[in-house]
């Protein structure tokens, strides 16, 4: 199968087949990552720019390692110390990078839809590394990959996503991904953090963590952003964690072999109790490792179509 998408802007735009192709390709990439020489020449001569408008060492490093393992030429562009400060528009910045030879642009931006603007106006392939509250496809793909590795099959799993759904790009991408691959998705969080009409994404909405956890196969905890305190969305972190924090006791409501995931970094004692945070750590490390393979697959497929894999 050939990957026909020029860009990866979100999981909403991908079919189940395309998602599976990325996951299958990531498996081969993982094999590369286990070799002594962790490098293939797949993207030799391709210039990839990491255009990160939000500081994110984890995601950026993961993309950078993925690019280097594919032998791409890598340019990291962190706009804080450059043109953007002088008022250059996103589009002008990206056009300059394209003029320097970039053919793949990996973009992280605080505003939803910023990658769409580049996809519409530029010739390069655009890979969304997280935009505003919209999507974070590479995170969702690595979550899917990690779950598939352990559970073998996504179809039929009960997946619970807990926290600030309203502002979470991780949640949106995961909802699309898990739904498309046949899982049942349950959202849980305070009603103030549930986006309007989200049920129309074919998910079930819960306001009680206990109820949502019953029989769960996978639990994805979202990071609660400290600056949301005082925004009227919830009274205090203390109360939030009392009702929506994951404890060992609550986790017992889920299936015995439940997988617990977190996009990191964790707020210990807020969304996860300290003991659960320790439990979850090993999966988080798996997620980090898998993140490189998944990103290699994404870059490889948008840059080459994957026809000669």
């Amino acid at each position: 199968m050939v990957f026909k998408q020029k860009h990866i802007l979100g999981l909403k735009e991908l079919t189940a087949e395309e998602i599976n192709l990325i996951l299958d390709t990531a498996e081969s990439m993982k094999e590369v990552s286990q070799r002594d020489v962790k490098k293939v020449p797949a993207l030799r001569g391709v210039t990839v720019v990491n255009l990160f408008f939000e500081p994110s060492t984890r995601t950026r490093s993961s993309f950078e390692i993925a690019e280097k393992r594919l032998s791409a030429d890598v340019l990291n562009f962190t706009p804080t110390q450059s043109s953007v400060v002088k008022g250059e528009t996103l589009l002008d910045t990206a056009r300059n990078l394209e003029a320097m030879g970039a053919t793949v642009i990996v973009i992280r931006h605080a505003m939803s839809g910023a990658p769409w603007l580049l996809a519409r106006e530029l010739d390069s392939s655009i890979v969304n590394a997280g935009d505003g509250s919209h999507e974070h496809p590479s995170q969702a793909l690595l979550d899917l990959f990690t779950v598939r590795e352990v559970k073998k099959e996504i179809q039929g799993l009960k997946v619970v996503i807990v926290g600030d759904i309203l502002h979470s790009r991780v949640a949106r991408s995961n909802i699309w991904g898990f739904i498309k691959l046949g899982a049942e998705v349950r959202l849980v969080g305070p009603p103030t953090m549930m986006p309007q009409d989200v049920e129309k994404m074919d998910v079930k909405v819960y306001y009680s963590l206990e109820q949502a956890l019953k029989g769960a196969d996978v639990v994805i905890m979202l990071r609660i952003q400290m600056e949301r305190q005082g925004s009227g969305l919830f009274p205090s972190l203390r109360e939030y964690s009392r009702f929506y924090g994951l404890t060992r006791e609550r986790l017992r409501l889920a299936k015995e072999d439940v997988m617990l995931m977190h996009p990191g970094p964790i707020n210990r004692g807020v969304e996860l109790s300290s003991e659960v945070a320790d439990d979850v750590h090993s999966v988080i490390l798996d997620q980090v490792t898998n993140g490189i393979s998944v990103r290699m697959a994404m870059l490889y497929l948008v840059a080459t179509g994957g026809g000669n894999a």
């Binding site: 931006h109 505003m111 939803s112 769409w116 509250s133």
Partner: protein
């Protein structure tokens, strides 16, 4: 100079006329509806316009435009805005005060009117600000602006959040008999939203503006209009709830009128799905139920007027992240064809539509236009309602190419626009 418009279907709701007739214009005024024109046609000093098979109506009046001058001439000028109006069949435009400086005192009003007289090819009627700088803090010098020619007051773009101040504004204008035009929006509920709140905003991860944001303010302003007896005009109604509130208020006899824009009855918020900033507008494009409710409101008379809320912006300003793009659609040159779709869809009859674009807006701001009565100033539009036209923003006279309708096939083509007896546009 005389103009003879012959053989058109004359629709003038101010006189309840809908018939084939000839119109003779002399000295800039409607002279007569001559039956026998054989002799007239041959006279040398007469311009004959053959309108057979087309509609002849009073020149359209747009109650809500942004001409951007002074201060934002890169977006639009009075000259280009008037040219766009003429191309759209509008002979009069009512311009909002959010210029720089804000039209919050008589000298700015006079500047706009002077520019309009010297460079504008259609009639320009300014609206003054309710508060100084549209800041919502101190009343602007409304009396002097009225004296200078303002036909209404509004802080358009910025609602007056302070209810007591809004009350006083409504009381104060009663002395001048002009309406208070409300941009109904509760800014706290809007919370820096950039599009309609609903499933689409959820998918896109964009901050939503709930319907309640408009409805809370419509409700407040109706209450204040009841208290003060002032004439309240609700601008750009976008939600089903707002339509219902206005309908109920009218039934109670409250002095309230309302307008809706073509984009609010032609589009749903799905248009934003590709993050198209040309569809970013305030109030936002709403859902299907709202579109239906606006059509219902137009049909039953709850909504008196169709106004474009023409809000031109430069291309650079719109080619940015959705959150950063300014609100607004360039509307003057698509207003009529989009409105004609209401006739095709059976929502309005053609005379009902013309009424909402002529005599109704004229009445609201108390101007002597929007009519073809003998002796009236000869503002006339001649259009072919069936001719199909493909919207091409590159051909807009307006500097603002920001339209979500680019490439749309619409019916309705303006053939001639006549202002004060002078043909200012021929298409």
């Amino acid at each position: 100079m005389r103009v003879l418009i012959k053989g058109g279907r004359v629709i003038d709701p101010s006189q309840e006329i809908d018939q084939t007739a000839n119109i003779l214009i002399e000295d800039g005024k409607v002279k007569s509806f001559p039956k026998d024109i054989k002799k007239l046609e041959k006279e040398s000093d007469i311009q004959v316009i053959d309108a057979r098979g087309n509609i002849v109506a009073p020149g359209l009046i747009d109650l809500h435009v942004h001409l951007r001058e002074p201060g934002f001439e890169h977006k639009e000028t009075i000259r280009t805005g008037c040219e766009a109006a003429a191309a759209g069949g509008f002979t009069s435009v009512v311009c909002m005060p959010n210029t720089n400086p804000v039209n919050d005192n008589a000298s700015v009003t006079e500047y706009i009117l002077l520019k309009a007289r010297t460079e504008g090819i259609v009639n320009v009627f300014p609206v003054g600000a309710i508060t100084k700088g549209e800041k919502g803090e101190i009343l602007a010098e409304i009396g002097e602006m009225w004296e200078a020619g303002c036909v209404g007051i509004s802080d358009d773009g910025w609602p007056v959040m302070n209810s007591k101040l809004m009350r006083h504004a409504m009381e104060y204008v009663k002395a001048y008999g002009i309406p208070v035009i409300s941009h109904a929006e509760d800014l706290n509920l809007s919370a820096h939203g950039v599009m309609n709140e609903g499933f689409t905003s959820t998918i896109l991860g964009l901050r939503g503006i709930p319907n309640a944001s408009e409805e809370v303010m419509v409700s407040r302003d109706i209450t204040l209009a009841e208290l003060t007896g002032a004439h309240l005009h609700i601008a750009h109604v976008s939600t089903a709830g707002a339509v219902r509130l206005i309908r109920d208020a009218k039934k109670r006899g409250v002095n309230v009128t309302a307008e809706a824009t073509p984009h609010h009855f032609s589009l749903t918020d799905k248009v934003v799905l590709s993050y198209d900033t040309n569809a970013k507008v305030n109030p936002p494009i709403r859902g299907e139920k709202d579109v239906e409710a606006i059509k219902e409101g137009l049909k039953d008379g709850t909504i008196d007027v169709i106004a474009t809320d023409h809000a031109p912006h430069s291309e650079d300003e719109k080619k940015v992240e959705f959150d950063l793009a300014p609100f607004g659609i360039s509307g003057l040159e698509t207003g009529l064809p989009l409105s004609l779709q209401l006739v095709k869809d059976g929502v309005l009859t053609l005379p009902e539509l013309v009424k909402k674009l002529t005599v109704n807006p004229a009445k609201i701001i108390g101007i002597d236009r929007g009519t073809l009565k003998t002796g009236a100033i000869a503002d006339v539009v001649i259009f072919d309602p069936d001719k199909s036209v493909k919207v091409d923003r590159e051909k807009f006279r307006s500097k603002g190419k920001n339209t979500p309708f680019h490439g749309w096939e619409l019916s309705g083509c303006v053939l001639h626009t006549i202002v004060g007896g002078k043909v200012v546009f021929s298409g």
